[in-house]
Symmetry: C2
Subunit: 106 residues, 2 copies
């Protein structure tokens, strides 16, 4: 299954904020910010999340808002943060939000 | 009626992002960013919103997340953006989000 993703100019700030306004999704984005592609299972493991179906919903929200790329690879799905697109469209937003999550964590 | 507001250190980035992820609330914050106190009716007028009850919900979300102060004054309510608190806790976030809304508007 190949997913549809919005083009860079179809991304909206409301959509990105909504996607990042959930602690689990925000934590997943923080993990993907390490760079490169990770498969869903790896991210779940780092997050300590066992409910795969909940994450299916979270990946969809992140994908539909333009925050991540998700592509099939064999029986798994690979995830990449769309940092270049997000930085181009909303310079600084991602870094500030990730820093904010660290502020909250104390 | 006096409202409860979170203290600065009770504000969470998820709560702020969620509050700002709605176009009407984001537009209201853009109006309040002009500075000072405005009453709800003035903001509604600038927004071109006639449904007062919908805005009652929006003010609550903005208030509970720590984005605005809301205080009664006679028969009206006065609103102020909590810019100092937001800038202290998440430096740059508000400006980048408001700039993002302008980017989206093209």
């Amino acid at each position: 299954m190949t997913f549809r993703h919005p083009e860079r100019d179809q991304i909206s700030v409301e959509g990105v904020l909504s996607a990042l306004s959930n602690p689990t999704r925000l934590a997943a984005v923080g993990i993907l910010d390490g760079g490169g592609e990770l498969n869903c299972g790896e991210v779940l493991k780092i997050l300590g999340v066992s409910a795969k179906s909940t994450m299916t919903h979270h990946w969809r929200v992140l994908r539909d808002s333009g925050v991540i790329w998700q592509r099939p690879s064999g029986r798994e799905y690979l995830l990449t943060l769309r940092r270049e697109d997000l930085d181009a469209r909303y310079p600084g937003l991602l870094d500030i939000v990730l820093a904010g999550a660290r502020t909250d964590a104390g």
